[in-house]
């Protein structure tokens, strides 16, 4: 029983963070219709910013959110503006050009990080990094628990933002029909740029929240990119609530898989679920067949 509960808690806490990673990807996916394969790399950049804040400026990771999120927002804006948007005008045989572009961007980000920080492992050790509290026999990592609640707060905020504000509505409208949005006076160019910025800022938040308990090196992006797309697909693409759902599913699946099947299957479990969902729940994902 203890094993079960501990696994459940581990899965949920991790899942919250995964959800946050997923929302950013989902937004970008929805509006641009592309899978951002540089998502994990953006998170990596956010993590380095957190590291710099902590290590050189002595800023606590939770305050570093105020630096990493705006910074990544700007980076996302630049990426969309100067590399992805110009592609819309270029005609090419493969509609996946933009996806390939994000692969290239991911490579560039990783290597630039290596240039600046070398391949060394970096970590941020705070007083709460390895503290935990117990409820009954079950241990809760303090940092992960905080991360979980912040992730939930961000998600609720995004939900409100997308449903209740003109800007949020414009983002959704652009996702559904870009030309029509243009005719309604939505500056679609600006919206895509903004969306990429927001998506990047959200994943940066996830990275920053992860920093106290995790570590960092330039190649850390890849695995998180993969997780992000699994989350996005599990969550049903383009849906903010879905991302949370997808994040929790993946977190739980990984945790239970690790406990009851084997830790070696950690990553594979996500991938297998992903393929199963693609195959058996296609109606859940209307967009799949449309793209």
């Amino acid at each position: 029983m203890e094993v079960f509960l501990q696994t459940l808690v581990a899965g949920i806490l991790k899942g919250g963070l995964y959800g946050l990673i997923g929302i950013g990807m989902t937004l970008i996916m929805g509006v641009m219709g592309i899978i951002n394969l540089a998502h994990g790399q953006l998170m990596m950049v956010g993590m380095y910013i957190t590291f710099v804040c902590f290590h050189y400026l002595g800023i606590d990771p939770y305050f570093a959110l105020l630096v990493s999120m705006p910074a990544l927002f700007l980076l996302g804006v630049a990426i969309q503006k100067y590399t992805l948007n110009p592609l819309i005008e270029v005609e090419s045989i493969l509609p996946e050009n933009q996806v390939l572009m994000t692969v290239g961007i991911g490579m560039v980000l990783t290597e630039v990080a290596r240039f600046i920080f070398s391949s060394d492992y970096k970590s941020v050790q705070t007083s709460y990094s390895s503290s935990s509290f117990f409820i009954g026999e079950i241990s809760f990592s303090l940092a992960l628990t905080i991360a979980f609640f912040i992730a939930v707060a961000f998600t609720l905020f995004m939900f409100w933002f997308l449903l209740r504000t003109d800007l949020g509505r414009s983002i959704r409208a652009t996702a559904q029909d870009k030309d029509a949005a243009l005719l309604m006076g939505v500056n679609a160019q600006r919206i895509t740029i903004l969306t990429f910025g927001i998506g990047s800022a959200l994943v940066a938040a996830a990275g920053t929240l992860l920093m106290p308990i995790y570590y960092l090196f330039p190649d850390i992006g890849g695995p998180f990119t993969r997780k992000a797309f699994v989350i996005t697909i599990l969550g049903g693409l383009g849906s903010t609530v879905g991302a949370i759902f997808g994040g929790l599913t993946l977190g739980l699946a990984e945790a239970f898989g690790a406990t009851y099947i084997g830790m070696a299957f950690d990553d594979m479990i996500g991938l297998v679920i992903f393929i199963l969902v693609l195959i058996f729940l296609p109606s859940g994902f209307k967009r799949i067949t449309k793209v």
Binding site: L87, V103, G104, T110, F274, I275
Partner: protein, 336 residues
């Protein structure tokens, strides 16, 4: 002139090992030819049939492991495994395609990406069969590079000619129809599922053969090497798009350029900077050379970004555009 270009190229390639005797360049050419095969395969499924694959490594690795296991478990010469590697890759492609071809566009691409990772995990975890991360070591058959070169050349030529033949036939029309509009294709009596399967299996076969060749030639594989997302799958895409999507000779050009660029960066512009530094004795240039060499992956990344932005259909696909830039081309400049 245009018509004879392929023959001229072929003659040069046949004579190459006789003209250039140094192992280093022969080695590079063997890699180029291997990438031609992989690129040709990718081009069939992605370029012509429009089902972009991010998972070529799954087929490549399967081919490589087949050859490796033939040699280590069955003591059969890994050369026999060349064809077997292709068939084994098809054995992976078949169920995968059967299940995943209901997905379209980017979602199929993601599924291939997942396949890539799943295969890597399997090879890692199934230690009893694959040796896990210990990998498989075999002793190469030949000391000289020349036999490998000609085998690779034969494979590459067969791949290019094969693809050309397929694309000129009914299959070719069907593949392109599927790329352009799957519903329309289906309504015209094309069994899209079947032809996508055919296309994927052609790609898998070629890529699997290339994998077997790799095993034979390199003598060592492990899951990280042959199931690598970046070094195989993404590289295959790059070969495809740099050369030219949906063109017969695109993969040839792409393979050559990608291997050359890779080596170019790795060696610091073929030692240009080092030479310059030695000549001038400048410390700054030595430092610069060091950075250039370290930046080769960065260079790759930038290349991807630039090619997609400027030559979205690759060098062969956008050839007109390129000649348009050249002052002597006199071609009509495309208007912005």
């Amino acid at each position: 002139m245009k018509r004879f270009a392929p023959f001229l190229l072929l003659v040069i390639l046949i004579l190459f090992p006789l003209l250039v005797r140094d192992d280093y360049h022969q080695h590079l050419m063997i890699l180029v030819l291997m990438w031609v095969v992989i690129g040709a395969g990718w081009n069939v499924i992605a370029g012509y049939t429009g089902q972009v694959s991010f998972g070529d490594a799954a087929f490549f690795g399967t081919g490589a492991y087949t050859a490796g296991l033939f040699a280590t478990k069955l003591s059969i010469s890994p050369w026999w495994a060349m064809a077997a590697g292709g068939v084994a890759a098809m054995a992976v492609a078949f169920p995968f395609g059967w299940i995943c071809f209901r997905l379209r566009g980017a979602y199929f691409a993601l599924a291939t990406l997942a396949l890539n990772e799943v295969m890597r995990h399997i090879a890692t975890i199934w230690e009893d069969l694959t040796g896990g991360m210990v990998g498989i070591l075999i002793i190469q058959t030949f000391v000289s590079k020349v036999p490998y070169y000609y085998i690779a050349l034969a494979l590459a030529v067969a791949a290019v000619i094969g693809v050309q033949a397929v694309m000129g036939s009914k299959w070719g029309y069907y593949f392109v129809s599927i790329r352009e509009d799957q519903d329309a294709a289906e309504s015209l009596g094309i069994d899209t599922h079947l032809y996508k399967m055919i296309s994927l299996n052609i790609a898998a076969f070629l890529t699997g053969m290339a994998g077997s060749l790799y095993m034979n030639y390199m003598g060592f594989i492990d899951p990280e090497v042959v199931f690598s997302l970046h070094d195989i799958s993404i590289m295959a895409i790059l070969v495809g798009i740099v050369g030219g999507v949906g063109t017969v000779y695109g993969p040839v050009v792409g393979a050559f350029i990608m291997v050359a660029v890779h080596e170019f960066f790795r060696t610091g512009f073929f030692g240009f900077f080092k030479g310059l530094a030695a000549l001038t004795g400048s410390q700054a240039i030595t430092t610069l050379a060091k950075y250039v060499m370290q930046a080769h992956v960065l260079g790759f990344g930038i290349l991807v970004v630039v090619v997609i932005l400027v030559l979205p259909n690759g060098i062969v696909g956008d050839w007109k555009k390129i000649t348009g830039w050249l002052p002597l081309g006199g071609g009509r400049r495309s208007a912005a």
